[in-house]
Amino acid sequence: EPEVTQTPSHQVTQMGQEVILRCVPISNHLYFYWYRQILGQKVEFLVSFYNNEISEKSEIFDDQFSVERPDGSNFTLKIRSTKLEDSAMYFCASSEPVRSPTTDTQYFGPGTRLTVL
């Protein structure tokens, strides 16, 4: 069964450093998402991406964040200058256009645990 993959599984960085989290969505999917989950808290939406542009972003997704689909398979989340409060699990998700993005199943990756020291 196809699955979303994410690398690395765990990233440790110093405050102020840039990090890039990588995701390989399922190959025929067209909608891509990033979510994050701070330890012990709920899953929070960050950004949705379709047709090579951001469809929607949350308040969390400020100027320090950016997303890119550099080629036909990867989808990346960049945090320019990490803060302590960016420590969280970051999940990538993708969906194919079956009915509509709001009802189509999203397939989540295993996550990248980001630790900012």
């Binding site: 709920k42 899953v43 999203q106 295993p110 996550g111 645990r113």
Partner: protein
């Protein structure tokens, strides 16, 4: 997106049927009800989706009454591996919706031996 309310936690024993009810009083006509499951340190996983009446798949059943203001996820004969957080989400094809999922706190199901 309609607000949902579900119990924070539930306990069960292996082999029992578990029913988790979600309230969504403000559900809109074009909203669907979707349940996701999340194991510790893993991403959420789709379980089931429905619009009305009953939906069943190999994992669970979803019961939706006629007024659609609530829904019940039913897990038959749970095992220890069903210990997870279960999320009820409601959303539909409104203009401008880009597919973002709004997760609440979910229901933490603890299955005991």
């Amino acid at each position: 997106l309609a607000k949902t309310t579900q119990p924070i936690s539930m306990d069960s024993y292996e082999g029992q049927e578990v029913n988790i009810t979600c309230s969504h009083n403000n559900i809109a006509t074009n909203d669907y009800i979707t349940w996701y499951q999340q194991f510790p340190s893993q991403g959420p996983r789709f379980i089931i989706q429905g619009y009305k009446t009953k939906v069943t798949n190999e994992v669970a059943s979803l019961f939706i009454p006629a007024d659609r203001k609530s829904s019940t996820l039913s897990l038959p004969r749970v095992s220890l591996s069903d210990t997870a957080v279960y999320y009820c989400l409601v959303g539909g094809d409104s203009s401008g919706n880009t597919g973002k999922l709004i997760f609440g706190q979910g229901t933490t199901l603890q299955v005991k031996p």
